[in-house]
């Protein structure tokens, strides 16, 4: 029996949702960027990897529908997680991802710390940037999904809206996708993996747990709250087995490589990106 030195942060469902969105997001990014840059040699090459423009579009559309189904499943999952007897208490609990006034205070304290004017904020379970990550995807997915669905069936959609609104939808779809890629490949990657103590890789989303020592520095208020409630022992888990670690290190680095490569492509072909 391995020693329980780690604190559980993500359930199996959370990790599966993250794994799903990692894979589907990358497929969408590659098939989308290839078609966006179809006028360039790179775009033609990437689309060629999938066979043809039509095949790349079909993959993009199918994966998009899968993502929307997963989003619906996620909403059902979240609704089951809320304790409906005391929703007010539960929704604004530190264990919830709903933004609180405390997050604004934490951001202020963080900026104060950046300027060397005070101590770093004492984070609870979810920090403000983690909440931003979550809600950015939460509003981005339906936006991309609805605009994508409209562009998927333009003739049918134009029965319910003027055809010129498809021009606007196309702009929204491309701009939002570009924002999502830039945010994930620059901000999400660097906050997750480049920071001190995180550097080779932040294993939390795969292992589901973090070393208690590390979390004492990162989220002191959370640990303190758990100790106060006497629930710290309940959430302690042993570390992941070695074979699993090897697997997710290889997978994680493959994903990072594709993401950074796409980021380089975006920067390299910035003049060819027409988002409208």
């Amino acid at each position: 029996m391995r020693e329980k030195t780690r604190i559980l942060r993500f359930s199996v469902f959370d990790r599966l949702f993250h794994l799903f969105i990692m894979v589907t997001f990358l497929i969408q990014a590659v098939t989308g960027m290839g078609r966006l840059l179809y006028a360039t040699t790179w775009g033609k090459w990437v689309v060629g990897l999938f066979g043809s423009y039509e095949t790349a579009t079909a993959i993009h559309n199918t994966v998009g529908i899968l993502m929307m189904i997963a989003f619906a499943v996620h909403i059902v999952y979240v609704l089951f997680k809320v304790e409906w007897r005391t929703p007010g208490k539960r929704l604004f609990h530190p264990d919830s991802l709903v933004p609180r006034f405390q997050d604004v205070v934490h951001l202020g304290q963080k900026i104060r710390w950046f300027l060397g004017l005070g101590p770093p904020p004492q984070f609870d379970r979810w920090t403000y940037w983690e909440k931003f990550d979550y809600w950015a995807v939460f509003w981005g997915l339906p936006l991309l999904g609805v605009t994508g669905l409209v562009l998927m069936y333009p003739v049918g959609a134009s029965r319910y809206m003027p055809g010129w609104s498809l021009n606007v939808m196309l702009l929204l779809h491309r701009a939002e996708a570009l924002l999502a890629m830039l945010y994930i490949f620059i901000i999400h990657f660097s906050i997750g993996h480049l920071r001190r103590g995180m550097f080779p890789m932040n294993e939390c989303m795969f292992a589901g747990s973090v070393e208690l020592e590390k979390e004492l520095k990162e989220k002191p208020a959370w640990i303190a709250r758990l100790q106060e409630d006497g629930r710290l022992e309940e959430v302690m888990v042993p570390g992941p087995p070695t074979w699993y670690r090897v697997m997710y290190f290889v997978f994680g680095y493959a994903v990072l490589t594709v993401g950074i490569y796409l980021l380089i492509v975006i920067i390299n072909y910035r003049n060819y990106i027409e988002w409208h």
Partner: protein
């Protein structure tokens, strides 16, 4: 005829002339006013037999999207504008036969239908002479565009579908604010969103990562000295 008789006669002629002479503008009732032309079509049973000229441009009314000024466009611009009603939109252009579409229509040649769908100009705009889009018989006239052009590929295309702008204006251009406001403002919204989010978070992570890195280096530097101090104090 007496003088009195002449006056009566000329007055009678004048009265008769009111009944006989129809004012000149009204004589174009068949060819210039669409409404009356439709009436003629309905009464005769002959449809689309004559070419119908557009309504006269009224100088004090202006054209949608151009501005309501007494003289909203220059004579040169007016010449171009009237080209949107011609049976041969390129009428009178020098060396027209030697030119390619994209020589003049540079931006129009780079849109998704051409770049992705391999659609050529003539597949939508038709062969020579290429009619102006607003010409009454043009396949691209909005009254039949969906059926004559769009539906060739997009099965079941309707009039609403045909309002999709294939040659859409550049979303960030100032003129787009008047010609396609929703596109213009959406573009600005997304642009500010991207610049705002990325600007804030890039700065945020840069400061954060470098500050943590600095602390790490300083701790590493300090550690040996501290250990030595501890050893000294222990001694």
């Amino acid at each position: 005829m007496s003088a009195k008789g002449r006056v009566i006669f000329s007055l009678a002629l004048l009265c008769l002339s009111l009944l006989v002479a129809v004012p000149a503008p009204a004589q174009e009732e068949v060819t210039s006013s669409i409404r009356r032309y439709r009436e003629r079509e309905a009464s005769t049973g002959y449809y689309e037999e004559y070419e119908v000229k557009p309504r006269r441009v009224r100088p004090f009314v202006g054209v949608p999207g151009v501005g309501r000024k007494p003289f909203p466009y220059s004579p040169g611009a007016a010449e171009i504008r009237t080209r949107t009603y011609l049976a041969d939109s390129h009428r009178g252009l020098e060396f027209y036969a030697m030119r390619r579409c994209e020589d003049c229509h540079v931006a129009e040649a780079k849109h998704s239908h051409t770049v992705r769908g391999n659609v050529t100009c003539r597949q939508c705009h038709g062969g020579e002479p290429i009619a102006s889009i607003n010409h009454y018989f043009s396949p691209l006239n909005p009254i039949r565009r969906h059926a004559y052009v769009c539906a060739k590929c997009h099965e079941g295309a309707n009039a609403s579908f045909a309002t999709f702008m294939v040659h859409e204006p550049p979303a960030a251009a100032a003129a787009t604010r008047k010609t396609f406001p929703s596109l213009y403002y959406t573009n600005w919204f997304m642009y500010l969103l991207i610049v705002g989010v990325m600007g804030f978070f890039i700065l945020h992570s840069l400061v954060w990562i470098s500050k943590e890195f600095y602390h790490q280096v300083m701790e590493k530097k300090r550690k040996p000295e501290d250990e030595r101090k501890d050893q000294n104090s222990a001694l």
